[in-house]
């Protein structure tokens, strides 16, 4: 019983250590030539541009649901006019980065783990090493940079879409016109509300890419291994986002 617990703790510590070393090596590889511009452009397109619809729909509905719930609640003490401001704060600081980040963990984190995992078990990674190419530089760095750059941009657009969703819900769907909706949002918001969301998105992008690539490159054991590691990549990245969100929020408030 005790020894089983001990070996689990050891295994956890070991993988945490390996993951930290991997992250540090990936960071070091970012600033070391050669720079894979072609691969970077490809990943910016695949990770960023292609994810826009998913993030847009996610933020649109999150904005609408949040508005619906708060409107309903605030109406009990005739405070409907505060809804736009609350929506802006909640969306920019919390909802868009976290829910958008979770969606991206499912979309791009899993894709990275599955793709690199398949390359590992079919020995394409070894073939790359043999041809004097560092997989860290050729595969990991472009994915890491693309996610870290694109996630904040996607979330920034998601912020606007979510706020628009709130306006649409109140003014069109519920037909309860709230004049000056957008003015109320932007009067209430401070620049830091926006920036704290951007800092979070950047961290979440880092978590998604490092976990996805690490799980992919450490895949073993054929198709089953690829499946397990892909699932784990999504689970760990999502947990990482939720846990780090708390600590980031503590630091950013």
């Amino acid at each position: 019983m005790l020894s089983a617990l001990g070996s689990q703790v050891l295994a956890f510590t070991e993988s945490a250590g390996k993951f930290s070393i991997f992250t540090a090596r990936a960071m070091a590889a970012v600033v070391r030539p050669p720079f894979e511009l072609r691969e970077l452009m490809k990943q910016l397109e695949r990770i960023g541009v292609a994810s826009f619809p998913v993030v847009a729909v996610t933020c649109l509905f999150t904005g609408m649901v949040f508005t619906l719930q708060t409107y309903d609640g605030f109406a009990r003490f005739q405070a409907e006019s505060y809804v736009p401001g609350i929506l802006g704060v909640a969306l920019l600081r919390e909802l868009a980065p976290v829910i958008g980040g979770l969606m991206m963990a499912g979309r791009v984190g899993s894709a990275m783990a599955a793709e690199l995992g398949t390359m590992r078990v079919t020995r394409q990674i070894d073939a790359m090493e043999v041809m004097a190419t560092d997989p860290l530089q050729y595969l990991v760095v472009p994915r890491l940079l693309a996610t870290v750059v694109m996630l904040p941009l996607l979330i920034a657009m998601g912020d606007l879409i979510g706020i628009w969703g709130g306006w649409y819900l109140i003014n069109v769907v519920m037909d309860a016109p709230l004049p000056g909706f957008f003015d109320r949002v932007f009067e209430f918001l401070e620049p830091f509300d926006f920036w704290s969301g951007m800092i979070k998105s950047l961290f979440f992008g880092l978590i998604i890419a490092t976990v996805g690539c690490y799980k992919g490159l450490t895949t073993r054991g054929g198709a089953e291994g690829v499946g397990t590691n892909t699932t784990n990549a999504v689970v760990y990245a999502s947990l990482g986002i939720l846990v780090s969100d708390f600590f980031l929020t503590r630091m950013l408030t």
Binding site: M119, T122, R123, Q124, D126, A127, V130, M131, A132, T133
Partner: protein, 258 residues
């Protein structure tokens, strides 16, 4: 001073956990020699090949290529030394997101001394010609048969005109005709490049075809090595059982256990 042996392996040991895979391998291969390492499944052949090209590091002992010990090289030197190698993987290990052309051009584009677009195009065509598959450059690996994938893998391995060619099970799982064809391709590549070739296989017929010298790997050791004809006529019991494909003999226990 005497020139060091081109490939020198001394007392190489490697374990994975409790599994002691390589148990003191000693080997010397000269320039332009063609060595075939025979052995059953689980004898440690693939692990050994990974050490030759520096993908794995020895627990004990050393692997020295042209006087350079893998264990003493830094990143840059490791990659520099690898550019003198060409390696063909068991299932080809082609990059399945790239066309055949981009696969073969990959090592050419990765070089430090840049080649022009035209040069790369010519070299890719030449490589495909050498392996007998001209005109398939625009296909994706998924559109190729097993034998074709191996040959594209060969073409990619020879793109940089390597001094050493490593073949990991080049003919496993192919029909007898394709096995002979690939054997001929290997011989042709070796003659064109004047390269040292080291092939691991358990296929006797292709070993007879491409080897100058044959070594037998058994339980993580090279138990017998000899020039080709002497090897196939020797009376070492393990070699005899393997070559004749008998179910009873000294090797049976180990092969089943793994």
């Amino acid at each position: 001073m005497e020139e060091p042996t081109f490939v020198q392996v001394q007392d190489l040991h490697k374990s994975f956990g409790a599994n002691h895979v390589l148990r003191g391998v000693n080997l010397a291969v000269g320039r332009a020699e063609s060595l075939v390492i025979l052995g059953g499944s689980g004898a440690g052949k693939s692990v050994f090949l990974s050490h030759l090209i520096g993908l794995m590091q020895a627990d004990r002992g050393s692997v020295t290529i042209d006087g350079q010990n893998w264990a003493e090289l830094d990143r840059g030197q490791t990659y520099d030394l690898r550019t003198r190698f060409g390696m063909s993987f068991q299932e080809g290990a082609l990059f399945d997101s790239m066309t055949v052309y981009d696969n073969i051009a990959f090592p050419l584009r990765r070089q430090t001394s840049k080649m022009g677009k035209g040069e790369i195009k010519d070299r890719v065509a030449e490589c495909l010609e050498t392996v007998g598959m001209p005109g398939i450059a625009q296909l994706m690996p998924s559109e190729l048969s097993g034998g074709m994938r191996r040959r594209v893998g060969f073409a990619r391995a020879i793109a940089l005109k390597p001094e050493i060619l490593l073949f990991d099970e080049p003919t496993t799982g192919l029909d007898p005709i394709m096995t002979t064809v690939l054997g001929e391709v290997i011989i042709q590549m070796r003659e064109r490049l004047q390269a040292t070739t080291i092939t691991i296989t358990h296929d006797i017929s292709s070993a007879k075809m491409i080897a100058n010298r044959v070594a037998m790997m058994f339980k993580g050791e090279l138990v017998h090595q000899a020039p080709r004809d002497a090897f196939f006529n020797c009376d070492d019991p393990i070699v005899r059982q393997f070559v004749d494909g008998k179910s009873q003999g000294p090797a049976t226990e180990a092969l089943i256990k793994r």
